[in-house]
């Protein structure tokens, strides 16, 4: 039995159509879940981009996520600066911060990279928590209102907010996928695989890593914009170690090297979060064990596992087709047919 052949464009369009249709075919609760998965998903995407292209794990992506959120909060509640200026400033500052910390961060690799970003992330958290005159400390800032766009209030209508966010979410994914596919992505992966070789070949290794870091921060900060607008608040928890670790967990669960894995992992984590907490108090224990199992036995995460499962079914039914792909899981959708 041969698998029916679907052209990539058809699949893309139907996925998009389904996504757009969600507010009309699904319950309010599901729409809310999708919104959450999207903004946390962007945070996870930024982590996965760095992990996949540069091979480094950053535990400070939530800082960029939170910085844009905080600026929206401060500008809107204190100075009544509306959309779109507030989010533009927020994203701008986050990118600026990435430009600054990037200078420190590009000098290290591997485990040192992880630890340095952990400490830098904590620095931002400490600032958010202690600079009470600006950030209102641990109490956080509430009363953020989502904007009114083209006369439709994002605040009143969850469906409208969902669509508004979907536009940017797809944009971010398209952006990252394009980066991955471009020569830039190729160079990044070259650096990931052998930095010395790339340096010898004359590529500006440090500059490449720096740019990648800034792009990733940019993506995370966009997630932060929607987080602030949807929840209506921001507090130091958004830039805390917990949030960073949760995005790492999402990435591992879904598959740390692919964009699809990032989103899938976020969806799994956030759904489990809600489902489990209704049943048991041992949410953390279960997540810890799950995490352990995934790391040890399914390092490519759920996306990898799904793919393996599918490959094994497909190879059995189509009588030995081409072998399961190797490390070519580089884009949301394959670049070659």
């Amino acid at each position: 039995m041969r698998l029916p052949f679907i052209p990539k464009s058809v699949l893309l369009v139907s996925c998009l159509a389904l996504s757009v249709a969600v507010p009309w075919i699904a319950s309010d609760y599901f729409v809310m879940m999708c919104i959450r998965v999207m903004y946390f998903g962007m945070l996870t995407l930024s982590l996965c981009f760095l992990a996949g292209e540069l091979g480094v794990v950053s535990l400070m992506q939530a800082s960029f996520f939170g910085i844009s959120g905080y600026f929206i909060a401060i500008l809107q509640t204190r100075y009544q600066i509306p959309f779109p200026i507030a989010p533009l400033v927020g994203v701008g500052v986050a990118v600026l911060f990435a430009a600054l910390t990037g200078l420190l961060v590009i000098r290290v690799r591997g485990i040192y990279f992880l630890m340095l970003t952990l400490v830098l992330g904590q620095l931002v958290w400490a600032l958010a928590s202690q600079w009470a005159s600006v950030t209102r400390g641990d109490s956080g800032i509430t009363d953020i209102f989502a904007p009114v766009i083209f006369g439709i209030s994002m605040e009143q209508s969850k469906g409208a907010f969902y669509l508004f966010q979907l536009v940017f979410f797809c944009g971010v994914i398209a952006f990252l996928a394009a980066l991955k596919r471009s020569p830039f992505g190729l160079m990044l992966r070259g650096v990931r695989d052998s930095e010395s070789r790339m340096a010898m070949l004359g590529y500006p290794v440090s500059l490449l890593r720096y740019m990648a870091f800034i792009f990733a921060a940019f993506v995370a900060s966009i997630g932060g914009v929607f987080f602030a607008y949807f929840t209506g608040l921001i507090n130091p928890h958004s830039v805390s170690l917990t949030t960073n670790v949760e995005s790492l967990l999402s990435a591992i669960l879904g598959g740390i090297q692919t964009l699809f894995g990032a989103v899938l992992g976020t969806a799994i984590l956030k759904t489990l979060d809600l489902v489990l907490s209704g049943i048991t108090q041992r949410y953390l224990l279960i997540m810890g064990i799950l995490f352990l199992i995934v790391i040890m036995f399914a390092p490519k995460g759920a996306a990898g596992a799904l793919k393996r499962l599918w490959d094994s079914i497909a190879s059995r039914t189509s009588g030995g087709g081409p072998p399961a792909g190797g490390a070519a899981e580089d884009s949301f959708h394959e670049d070659t047919q």
Binding site: L18, S27, S129, S139, G278, Q281
Partner: protein
């Protein structure tokens, strides 16, 4: 390659199918949502309240007039974003008739925000104490059968100045809004009743080591009369420990505590170092009233340890809800009627372990405030009341000038000023010269 697209497609379909699975809404039952930090560091604030709720519901056999009650218990994990999500799911998925909770300060502020945007679901605030929930941010659907940070401490400041005769006090506290509120309330009571100066020292919420602060306190001991520990939870344990370690118990009298310091759950860990600690609250565990004794004993029987004020909040919230339901014959599906009834509930001293209370127009209780002291009775540490102030509202002594109070600048870590002259200059601006004159004439507040 092809297969990968199918994987994506099937995953998408799977999620869509899940999406369409709506929620089950049963008929003929009363659905209550509870929300609070059940797991994580703040678990005592969430679990305690939940225990109180469960105990109260049991007293009614988990039903109202034959209609069964279903409880949907949600965990915020002390994360406000999660709380917001859970509030939405309680409303949309579980379709609860009302919600009891949350417990933490910032949770409460976010909850009242949500309540303003979702006025069809009444919220009975549990332990959250920021005053703005029932002042500047008050909204019709949010009722608080609890307390505010300042409400329980205005009179404590008064007591320390007038009855204990202190002139200068240091407040050491965790740096976030709830302790700011407590400090502010204390300062008002203290400076307006004869006190001269209050110095505030703030430390990070999760401070690890107090030794440097102890050193400073030691240095200040010549000038200041007493120290008030303005923290909660683990920091209190560490503070008391290091207080003794550094010999500060020899230069200062007993520690003064904010509301969360000598609560029952803390006393067992603090041990004898807590003896003599003064504090103030709208509830004291040593209250000999029938309502309190019955509450304490049945709680102990059910949960194996004695309750503290956190459980009282959950307990009282349920009783308030039931009284309101009785008044409207169980028509909880008419939110407006239900909320109006809630706001009109009064509880007598026989009905609530804390004493009598009724709601002011902002839906915060007007209740007794007890100045209490930790003593040992029958080998067990407990709080006894040394003075009671009755009918205290969230505006405290400013109840006749509520608008002026709310128009005053918001409390921050440095506001209101802790120095007597600066303070009086400030209050003249919004309370008026007449008020200041009256204070001087009466030497403080008149009961």
């Amino acid at each position: 390659m092809n297969r990968k697209k199918w994987v994506a497609a099937i995953t998408a379909v799977f999620f869509i199918v899940c999406a369409m699975a709506g929620s089950a809404a049963a008929v003929d039952e009363i659905r209550i949502g509870t929300i609070g930090p059940i797991t994580g560091w703040a678990t005592i604030f969430g679990q305690g309240c939940l225990n109180g709720i469960q105990l109260a519901l049991e007293e009614y056999n988990n039903q109202f007039n034959g209609v069964p009650i279903k409880v949907f218990s949600e965990d915020t994990k002390a994360d406000v974003e999660v709380m917001r999500t859970k509030l939405d799911s309680l409303k949309n998925r579980d379709k609860v008739h009302f919600i009891i909770g949350p417990s933490l300060g910032h949770e409460g502020m976010a909850a009242v925000d949500w309540g303003a945007r979702n006025p069809e679901v009444p919220i009975l605030i549990g332990y959250s104490a920021p005053e703005d929930i029932t002042m500047r941010k008050a909204t019709f659907s949010v009722v608080r059968p609890g307390w505010t940070g300042a409400q329980v401490i205005f009179n404590f400041g008064q007591y320390c100045a007038k009855d204990l005769g202190y002139k200068k006090i240091i407040i050491v506290g965790q740096d976030y809004s709830y302790p700011w509120d407590q400090a502010a309330g204390f300062i008002r009571g203290f400076l307006e009743n004869g006190g001269e100066k209050v110095e505030r020292i703030w430390h990070p919420v999760e401070a690890v080591d107090f030794s440097s602060i102890m050193a400073r306190l030691m240095q200040m001991s010549k000038e200041y009369d007493a120290v008030l520990n303005n923290s909660g939870g683990a920091q209190v344990v560490a503070f008391f420990k290091q207080w003794k370690q550094f010999g500060l118990d020899k230069v200062y009298p007993q520690i003064l505590g904010q509301a969360n310091v000598p609560i029952v759950s803390m006393l067992s860990e603090l041990g004898d170092s807590a003896l003599g600690v003064y504090s103030s609250l709208h509830y004291y565990d040593g209250n000999p009233s029938q309502a309190n004794q019955k509450f304490r004993e049945s709680f102990n029987k059910k949960f194996g340890h004695y309750p503290d004020v956190i459980a009282v909040q959950g307990y009282d919230a349920v009783h308030v809800a039931f009284k309101a339901m009785k008044a409207i014959n169980g028509q909880v599906d008419d939110p407006k009627k239900f909320i109006t009834a809630l706001r009109q509930v009064t509880m007598s001293a026989d009905e609530s372990p804390r004493g009598p209370f009724y709601f002011d127009k902002y839906a915060n209780p007007v209740q007794n405030i007890y100045i209490k002291k930790v003593v040992k009775k029958d080998g067990r540490l407990m709080n006894e009341a040394v003075k009671t102030y009755t009918n205290v509202s969230q505006f405290g002594p400013y109840v006749d000038m509520a608008d002026k109070y709310m128009a005053a600048p918001a409390t921050t870590r440095d506001y209101p000023p802790g120095d007597k002259d600066a303070y009086f200059k400030e209050i003249e601006k919004y309370f008026g010269k007449d008020y200041v004159e009256k204070l001087k004439k009466n030497n403080g507040w008149v009961d």
